[in-house]
Symmetry: D2
Subunit: 339 residues, 4 copies
Amino acid sequence: MIIVMKKDATKENVEQICSWLESHKVKASPIYGKEQTVIGLVGDTSDIDVDQVAMQQHVDKVMKVQEPYKKTNRKFHPDNSIIDVGGVKFGESHIPVIAGPCSVESEEQIIEIARSVKASGASLMRGGAFKPRTSPYSFQGLKAGALIYLGKAREATGLPVVSEITNISQIEMMEEYVDLIQVGARNMQNFELMKALGHVRKPILLKRGFSNTIEELLMSAEYIMSGGNEDIILCERGIRTFETSTRNTLDISAIPVLKKLTHLPVIVDPSHAGGRNDLVEPLAMASIAAGADGLIIEVHNDPAHALSDGPQSLTPEQFSDVMKKLDHLARAVGRSIIK
Amino acid sequence: MIIVMKKDATKENVEQICSWLESHKVKASPIYGKEQTVIGLVGDTSDIDVDQVAMQQHVDKVMKVQEPYKKTNRKFHPDNSIIDVGGVKFGESHIPVIAGPCSVESEEQIIEIARSVKASGASLMRGGAFKPRTSPYSFQGLKAGALIYLGKAREATGLPVVSEITNISQIEMMEEYVDLIQVGARNMQNFELMKALGHVRKPILLKRGFSNTIEELLMSAEYIMSGGNEDIILCERGIRTFETSTRNTLDISAIPVLKKLTHLPVIVDPSHAGGRNDLVEPLAMASIAAGADGLIIEVHNDPAHALSDGPQSLTPEQFSDVMKKLDHLARAVGRSIIK
Amino acid sequence: MIIVMKKDATKENVEQICSWLESHKVKASPIYGKEQTVIGLVGDTSDIDVDQVAMQQHVDKVMKVQEPYKKTNRKFHPDNSIIDVGGVKFGESHIPVIAGPCSVESEEQIIEIARSVKASGASLMRGGAFKPRTSPYSFQGLKAGALIYLGKAREATGLPVVSEITNISQIEMMEEYVDLIQVGARNMQNFELMKALGHVRKPILLKRGFSNTIEELLMSAEYIMSGGNEDIILCERGIRTFETSTRNTLDISAIPVLKKLTHLPVIVDPSHAGGRNDLVEPLAMASIAAGADGLIIEVHNDPAHALSDGPQSLTPEQFSDVMKKLDHLARAVGRSIIK
Amino acid sequence: MIIVMKKDATKENVEQICSWLESHKVKASPIYGKEQTVIGLVGDTSDIDVDQVAMQQHVDKVMKVQEPYKKTNRKFHPDNSIIDVGGVKFGESHIPVIAGPCSVESEEQIIEIARSVKASGASLMRGGAFKPRTSPYSFQGLKAGALIYLGKAREATGLPVVSEITNISQIEMMEEYVDLIQVGARNMQNFELMKALGHVRKPILLKRGFSNTIEELLMSAEYIMSGGNEDIILCERGIRTFETSTRNTLDISAIPVLKKLTHLPVIVDPSHAGGRNDLVEPLAMASIAAGADGLIIEVHNDPAHALSDGPQSLTPEQFSDVMKKLDHLARAVGRSIIK
């Protein structure tokens, strides 16, 4: 941590701050300049509250040197974490694809789609049970019933299943029926939920909030890890910008940036990022080329009558075609999509 | 709703869509153009899913004409709603100010600050019990204990109290101890919470998410109102932009824009918007001048040792000074701050 | 400047960097920490290129302590600069208002509007001659002819005139006909133009680019000042964000932030910020309350037939009404609008 | 164009607007609804000013149906445009790479880099002569001298050369020395420059402004094309968002979106997008996978001593390595990088 003193701070002022800091067990080294004095802090500064230091008299500003996250930080855990979801591994050279409809609509639908995406090479099945919708007048999901149907689809195909949690009260159900618990973008900073998921014994798929920084994403993962659950998969799904031709702007750089900062696997959701089914293929291709460890893609047997997210869903035929192209591309970079 | 057909849509294609639409009980009027055909829908289109229409073959795009919110819409409720919080009214010419610390730190602290802000003219008291913090290693609030202290501060001063809810499980406690339940920016799209608050019998202070549009804010209010709770106060608290000299960018235009779209009162949080105590006064002044119906301001008796948000808190002396200036300004526009 | 060394940097590496830095005539003070070493630089670091330092081996990152702007910096020029535009002063307690149409459309039009806005209390006249339009098919302005009409309007009313420059080749004409040369938002980082305006002997109205930070605005002013022209008025006119209910988002905080960082006067353009005539009054009121030193407002005698920007223009009657309210508000904060 | 009337508009009001519109030679078809009336306009509405219509009494809002750009629109020009730059073709299956330093620093430097990037498979050479720098105190480029050195590098290697124009007065020099004239992000809406480039007989590399929408990029290309110069290559180079871990956010979706909207080739600048040399490879890979028609990459023989943009430059060795990987990837999608 670096503390920049105000221009008019006297030597006495500087010494006062230094002894106050040293009472917090860090070493404070002042560098007296002609125009301004700065104080360098070495040692473990994680217990020092930046805000409190910034409020001290004669302090102009405080600059952090170290990242605020620890358990998610690659510096302290150089090797990739491999996350096992019902036998499917994220973080290795094989790139698992999660596929399925936005919402589970019926038992038949979900089993039919599960069979079809499995045939195309998907490694996991997705399906929304509890739907966070902007409008109270939109379809809100089949809830618990959907989880039961997902269980049936797993039974029928052997694919592990993924579904989104929207409230702490659903944790027990999720632990029973689901292999990977998804936290949606709007709940990434629902810290009560993060704390609760720290005590869960299932892996978590943590989606980046559409207006959250990469550092904030890692801090939310830190919440879960500091609670004891270290099985986290991060997911980039587009951020909110001024551009309106796509629903969100896929932050493709987030993949290599995250891979450098953290040991956790990073996957991409090209369906929500673009919000248009014609963009799923190019965005998925780009994600693989940029180093993504997985993909989550919306597939619906009848997009024109889907109860949600029809415009961004692929048909099973389109999905099959995209999977072949993705696998071909992945092999060109020494990885694979279809086993 | 306006449906724009693709360039190559035939007359037959258009007629097919029209009859499909009319089976949904709306009247579809096609306008055949040289280059493109558009279909105008009149009647109540609120049951028609834009996404489903957009997915139909030969449809290029769909444009909405009506706002998606109803109960919050001023068109159907032209008069201002007056929200009563423990006897203090929001939406009239008097402009109530909510003041207090970011976090409740002790019984003595909160009673001392309550007395002091009351003396300066504040109409309500704020204090955080459950703190949503970006880092799991930061102070998380005194929780239930803080609510009890807030109750004591109310007893001592008569000021109604405001505190933030971060989880559905806190509703019962909130109903017991608090006069106005605050939803923080990060929970504005926690739709499960919105639904639950629809059944609560206390007024709600709904803060705009830092990356949510004005329409999304109104949709979240719609969730609460459609559940039966119509006592909502909206709060602008700054949005996330590329500018880094302030924590957020106060969207001052949101005040007049919201006042035009909705009948609900609109207040402003200048402390979180700027994130700097030197900006509280100019942003509060600007908010009054732009038509705000209230303010929520952080005041701490010892900002340099505050457990959270010190840098944006005013001291009681600074607060007293700001209140006088605000009252003077408010009177110049026919309103008042201090009763 | 603070240099953070990489974790694995040896003492020798640090010493090497330090001697390289001292060859650039700054004093380098290393602080050796357990985990990381930082080097503090004191003295004049303005000749040191941050990028070059950041590229040196063993350097992790570089953090600036000082602002990169000097002539515009209030630290070196504590008093407000008062800018005189044809006798009208910006930066004093009187708040001049610049008013007029987006585009000059005819001699009669501009003289009529000039007379009317003068009668309402405007201190200067605006009118576009060269119009930067997004579409090549839109009206591009009357060009040189418009400047001549502006000259006539000045003759008729005595009001100094303001017009926008869009190319270096117009400088000579501007110097002849205009009292205040406006740089539009899209040209704020047209650095060739900035350099050329450094040699001009007329004051410059520098508008903030809709996606430029406050620091970038000050750096563009620095270009002009470093060329020798120190008469600059800064203008906040809204920034581009994700919110679509207004054309831009007025960054109201920019007023107090700029007033703290620089000695130059700061005015606001509420017409372009909101892009809607119903927002001009509340945004202008807010700007005065936040400390603005001036306003620039679009007024058109027949907005419904304006050749550009009709939807954000006030009629002369609306303008007269707004001016009275602004003056009343200004007087409540110890300033004035109408002389 | 669709016109939405205000709720209280009478049948007479609607008829009045319709006859006013028909006097502008478009056909106006009103659809009378229970709550609101909309008017559909068919025929060529390009001469009708949206703003003027929106200003008419009783009009609530106006919605555009057609894109405002014509010459750049793929609807009217379905085949890809192939742009020839000194014999190198953009828009075919071969993907040309432009490489070279941010700034030309000396004749020796530029010839050495030219030879080295040619050996690695680059098809064109870049080098800045006129540098738009945020600070007036930064290196501003060697100017005309640099163009002469670029000419020498072309002579020595046969590579066509690319350099950025920052002012209309440089056009003549550019036409003499350069094969492809680059418009930088900050000048994308310098409309006077766009108009002037419409009369130039050299192809233009038009970079997207860091805060400009895709539609605005196409409108700027429209300016150049409507002036008569149809040889334009578009370049995505990152947009400004709230994320700070990268200099800009590469909008990878812009590639497929632009390819759908326009027939012009689209290339990507991964060096400026990320602002970090470790991101050049993953972003370049992603761009090829998403369908880019070219790349422009910064290469410097001694990045640690570069006069500008060192941190984002590759060394010739790194560049050679990246080119091999890119070529391998390109071949997996049926294209090629190295001839």
